[in-house]
Amino acid sequence: MKKLQIMSGVALMAFAAVICFELRNLPFGTPGVPGPAFFPLLLGIALFSLALLFTVKTALGEGVLTDSARTLWAGLQWKQVPYTLAALLGYALFLDRLGYLICTWVLMVYFFWGKGAKNKGIAIIGALLVSVISYVIFRSMLKVRLPLGLLRF
């Protein structure tokens, strides 16, 4: 846990550094006429300083540095998390090309199947129902412009 906390502090420092670097070409202005970089740059510096303080404080504080990060995920089905995020990424990338109905059906089959549906046939039909019903509700009733993709006819 301690190791992960230190890593989170370092990640925040890196984030602050990236922000300050990105703002390098924008005018800072003067206190009387603050420029676009004025506020975010001050925040970036403040974040970097606080993250540094946090990292040092955590490193010098109680706890063993070699604490395994695994303890945070012990006894949990942690693989579900990256799989779900990957499924979301895939969904986003194929949504415009394949369309809402196909993408949602595949995603729902994956979730229902992956979460241990007793009958695979029910998972497939259930996913189909979810994608069609949600399409009708959101596209036809709530006028959300969901992409048709391959089914554009």
């Binding site: 992960l4 906390q5 989170s8 925040l12 922000i19 990105e22 703002l23 924008l26 003067t30 206190p31 009387g32 006429v33 603050p34 420029g35 676009p36 970089a37 004025f38 506020f39 975010p40 925040l43 970036g44 403040a46 974040l47 606080l50 993250a51 303080l53 946090f54 404080k57 945070l72 949990l76 089905q77 942690w78 579900q80 998390v81 779900t84 995020l85 979301l88 990424l89 969904y91 986003a92 949504l95 415009d96 949602t104 995603l107 729902m108 979730f111 229902f112 979460k115 241990g116 549906a117 259930g126 979810v130 949600s134 959101f138 709530l142 006028k143 959300v144 412009r145 969901l146 992409p147």
Partner: protein, 501 residues
Amino acid sequence: MDITQHILYGFSVALTPENLFYCFLGSFLGTLIGVLPGLGPAASIALLLPITFNIPATGSIIMLAGIFYGAQYGGSTTSILVNIPGEASSVVTCYDGYQMARQGRAGAALGIAAFGSFIAGTFGTLMIMLISPLLVLVALKFGPPEFVGLMFAGLVMVVCLSRESVLKGLMMAIVGIILGSVGLDPIFGTQRLTFGSTTLMGGVEIIALVMGLFGISEVLTNIEQVLTQDVYNGKIKGLLPNKKDWQTSAGPIARGSILGFFLGIIPGVGTIVPTFISYAMEKKLSKHPETFGTGAIEGVAGPEATNNSASSGCFVPLLTMGLPTNVIMAMMVGGLMIHGVQPGPLLMKQHPDVFWGVIASMYIGNVMLLVLNLPLIRIWVLILKIPEKILFPLIILFCIIGTYSVNQNYVDIITLMIFGGLGYMMRKLHYEAGPLILGFILGPMIEEGLRQSLLMSKGDLSLFLSRPIALCFLLFAFALLISSPVIALLKARYKVVEMEE
């Protein structure tokens, strides 16, 4: 117009068929989601925010408010019947509510929770009607420096009163403000922090941010666990509390209503802390404190009244000063701003329909919840039995559609995924998302106010020292920051007491 005319005007707005429908829909959806364990009001509002895009501003905020206090009602049902709080402010209700259910008194527990919530909600609404116009008069005297001081003090209070470390809260608030400054500079219109992306020119999409940090991350945290739901299977009867129940509960409900409302007004306190204070207070005041934890009805009545009254109190700073006191109120600001309505002292004058309509709808919503919830209790029990393997994919799908519906851009779904993963890691490492969202919403307002103040004073920071109200807010904020080690100690003690309870 005097106060009576304002109130009548509010009711004339809230009682239109359209707004009545939104009020009902919000209360119903709020209760529905409050009933489902593992999905709090913040996630619910994030989930349902996109639905309000196609609704007029008044209807939209009426619906969002309904979701908020509806979730407080719904949360108690899960606490009593499953012993899992539907949302954090119902944690205390588990202690005695579930014990009452085990003793065959689930009906009485649910009944007193509903009636207590109704009474407290009504009290809270009346108080908003009385206090808000007075606060608006004060807030109208505020200029940019005062608003900067107020927003800064509010943000610092939320950070200091968050459950985790103050340092982490501060870092999250700054990250939120930085994310809020992505896009076009508010004064010069220059692109900043867009990393060359045209999508980021419009800023980070608020819906993707809140849905990711609350909706997706909540599902991710739940799907890795093996959840077992032991739903109460007995027959629920006797929903109307008897005379003895009323006699025992009257005091706790009255005290909870007052306590909750005034604590709810304070930035950062929210609806959770007051319920613990109410429970501890009732236990101290009781002639039989040993019965607490074994099914004492006061242990249900007090905290349930408190959380509803606190949820009304939270609206006071938002409607009068434009200050969101917690993450849910911050989302309300987002919801209003999407409709071009800026909450604050001018809201009452510029959008009286929104201001008075929302307040009146809160009263109507409380009546609706009381009339609907008790007869619908069997439906809520059925909903509790929906397996998570069906529920979680549907929540994810809602998040996707909600996010995509804003700009019809797949990049927003990727943003949702990124913030979902980030939110999950933040939960694991005990970083709170509340200060981040609040920073994201308040950041642009603070920046604008600060830059206007600096332009006014030609860069002279002593402007903040020469304006007494601004100075008071800033001194208060710095005093809070300096005393944060003491607050940390108090929080550690509070956690120990909570664990012992």
